[in-house]
Structure formats: structure tokens, C-alpha cells
Symmetry: C2
Subunit: 285 residues, 2 copies
Amino acid sequence: MSDGPWAFDAWNELRPGPRFSLADLDTSATPGFSGGSTKAGHLLAEIGEATSDLQERLYAHGRSGGTRSVLLVVQGMDTSGKGGIMRHVVGMVDPQGVELHAFGVPTPEERRHHYLWRIRRALPLAGRIGVFDRSHYEDVLVVRVDRLVPPEEWEKRYDEINAFEDEVVGGGTTIVKVALMISHHEQYKRLHQRLERPDKYWKFNPDDVDSRAKWPAYQEAYQAVFERTSTDVAPWHVIPADEKWYARLAVSQLLWQALVGLDLDWPSAEFDVAEQLARLEATGT
Amino acid sequence: MSDGPWAFDAWNELRPGPRFSLADLDTSATPGFSGGSTKAGHLLAEIGEATSDLQERLYAHGRSGGTRSVLLVVQGMDTSGKGGIMRHVVGMVDPQGVELHAFGVPTPEERRHHYLWRIRRALPLAGRIGVFDRSHYEDVLVVRVDRLVPPEEWEKRYDEINAFEDEVVGGGTTIVKVALMISHHEQYKRLHQRLERPDKYWKFNPDDVDSRAKWPAYQEAYQAVFERTSTDVAPWHVIPADEKWYARLAVSQLLWQALVGLDLDWPSAEFDVAEQLARLEATGT
């Protein structure tokens, strides 16, 4: 990995290993970072600048026939900070280069199709950074926990998802999968806050309490996701997210690393520079 | 107008009056602002914060059944700074609340429809800020200048556009129309720069020189746009844009004013707060 503002190889350090156990994860930890939220904020801004520069190169390549793109997949329980990632990490990048999709409960039209149908339609164009707020992983998370399809149906989806992602990566898209993990108690505090503050009511949904009541089943479903879909072509990154500032820092670092990995120079001119300069002069100064 | 970080009523001060003449516009002026780019940068950041807060209220309302939205329409000649507005002004707002559409040369499918078809499909959802990088105004600008349809065809479009925008505003959308105006010489400098710097080549398109050669016809077409489509429900704002920092400041102020004009409080809870608190407690802390 190239050294950037934060010399931490988040890409490898936050990957779940073969013996990874979600039950043992310290969601309040801040791997690779010893400072506090203020220092993290400054670092985040620096990473944002660096990311922004690389994103412009990616966009330029897309405009010049390049086929590369990046897809950031963000998963996590309610209140885990997905919205904050969108606002504070994705928000650091030029909106012209970003395609953000939030996947909610499937619409009637979406239900009539294969679960990957709506996902395929939302894949980023060449040169863009696609961002999924929830994703096809809901089809092995809420769908499994709430038994929306029979076990033999969701059981085969892990392999399907791996094959799908392999195809997407083969097409030139770097996939960055992040799971924001908070503790049961942290979720309690955040839901409680939404019920205390009138400016947060709109973020509260009574369904969130229903999901919370199924916490152990969700933990089990996430554990299966990490065990079965963290592949070499599209690994997961498990982010301790009790500290919101840490999660934002870690995800911005992962996005930056993905862009560095594309190793892009500025595209060369697709026209004769001297000829165009002469044409420009001919129009008057 | 409420007072904000910049006590300048851009909404009214930058509207073209009945005797407005584009030929007389000083594109290097900075109406309402006496500082330089550094001071403008700080002010822009402050307006960004204020805008971001209001945007969250708009988004919250959209999630709670509200019907209001905002549509920022950005027009201007090549190199006038439309991309910079997207990056530096639109980029200050939470990307979850923004729907950005860039309108290029119509695709074959778009050509088979009325010129407003693709525009209608891109109108913002309730609660969102829609942003058009170019728009239906191209249908009375490039289309008129390049005679892509007969005069009797584009001639009737001014009234059609006014009727269309009246309908959109009636549906709850505040329209903010900004035209970034640069001088002939300023465009020369900016195009020249794109041909000097390899990291800017990708932004250069030989077609831009063709358009530049038709400068007087474009000025005339813009003058007609201001005369015929600056209505009370959807006025134009003509932004002197030789100073990029001024254009960004002015557009951010206009967007902020539009959001202030919605006069939104936080939506009230759609659930019984005490009941939900009890349900939350029942799931453990």
C-alpha cells in the first residue's frame, strides 16, 4: 500500500480472517489509531482531499473511454452510522462522480425480479464511484432472519453473490465492502437518543425496535456473511463503529486505498493540442 | 429575506430587470461583496453549514409525507464554472439529499420524445434538492443557435417552458435558475489553460471551440431566455462568473435563500414516543 495521510493498511487489517468471530469483536476499538475524535477529524479531511484528487482522475478516465469504477457497499444494523458515512465520507467526493443508491424494502416491481436485478441496474458507470446504502446482502440478512424465503433459497445465495461480485470485479469495478458493527448497548443509546430529540424523530422507525429484538439472529447472519462472502476479489472489512469518527476515518481510508489501487494517471489528449490551440486563437482572445 | 452568514439578497439583486441587457453586464463584478477570494471561501463554508441544516429538514419532511423540494438549474457557456458549482456548492450538501442530473446531447431514445420528457423524469423527489447541469434551456440555446429545429418550433418553447415551470412550482418545487456569465476573453483564458495542462486535457472538447465561434448568437439566445423566461414563479439569476469564487458564493446564497423560504420546522413524530420508549426498554439496554 502507498503511504497516505494515515499510514494504516485498513484494507488488510480490517479484513475478517479465517477464524474471525463477530461475537469477539470489540466494537468500541479503534484499530490503527491512537488519537481522539479531533485528530481523526483533521485526518479525515486530509484523506478526503487525497481521495478527491484520485476520484477526479477516475472520472477523467471514464470520460476518455476507461472502464474502471469503484463500488462502496455499506452494511450495518439500524443506527450503525450508514447515513453518517454517506454524509461525511461520500460527501467529501465531487457529487458529479458519485452514484448513490439506498436499497429499502423491495418495491412490488423489484419483487417480480431476481433479487440481483435491482442491484445490477444500480452498478456504477465507468469512471464513477457507486455507493450502496444497504445492498444485495439484505437478501441474506433480513431475508434470512425474517424467513422471507425458505432456507434452501437463501442458502444458495452466498455462492450466487460471490459469482456475481466476481463478474462485477472482472468488469473493472473495485468493490469495497464495509460492515459497520456496533454493540447491543450502543444501539440502545442511539435509538434512545432518536426518541429524546424532536429533531431526530424523523430518523426513528418503530420497525427498528422489531429488528433489535432479533439481535442474536442478525449477529449470526452477519457472521455467515463474513465467513462465506469475504473473497479475495471482494473482501469484507469489519469496522468497529461505536465511535462514529473512527468508522468514518476507516471507511474513508478504505475508499482511498481502493482508488490508489487503480494506479491512474491523467488520460492523454484525444486531440492534437497544437491544432486546437490554433483553432482557439482563430476565435479571438 | 432572513439574515444569514452573508446579508445580501442575491435572490432579488441578481434578477434581470425588465431592461436587463446581457451586453452591458460586467462579468467581472462581484455584486454585494467587497472582499476577496479568501474571505469568500470562509463565507461559503458558513453558508454551506447553514444550507446543510436546512437541507436535513427538507429531507426529514420528505420522509414524513412532505411534498416540498428544490430544483437548482445551472446554465452557462463552456468553462463558465458549472462543474465547479457542482463540486464546491452542491458538494457541501449531504449527497443523500441531492439528485444531480447532467443533460448532454439527447440520446436517440430522448430524441424520440418531447424535449421536456427527459426533464420531467429527472425532477426531484419530495424532500430532495434536484440539480440540473444544463437543462431544458438547451432547447432554446444550442437548438436555436445551431438551428436544430425551425424557428417557429423553438419560438413557441419559451411559453411552453414557462407553463412547465409554473406546473412544477405548483407541485411544491422551488426552482432556482442560475446563469453563469463569463466574458469572451475569460473563456479564451480558460480554454487555453485546458490546452496547456495535461491534467486538464480531459475537460477539453474540440466542440467547445465551435461553440465559442458562435459567441454573439449565444449571447443573443441567452438574452432572449432572460427576457422571456424570467417569471415571478421561477425567476432567473444572472451571476457574473469571471471570478469563480464569486459565482460559487452567489449560487450557494441563492440555494440557501430558497431553503429558508420553505420555512420548515422538524416534522412531528408519527408514533407515540412513550410507547416506543417502552418497547425499546423491553429489548434490553
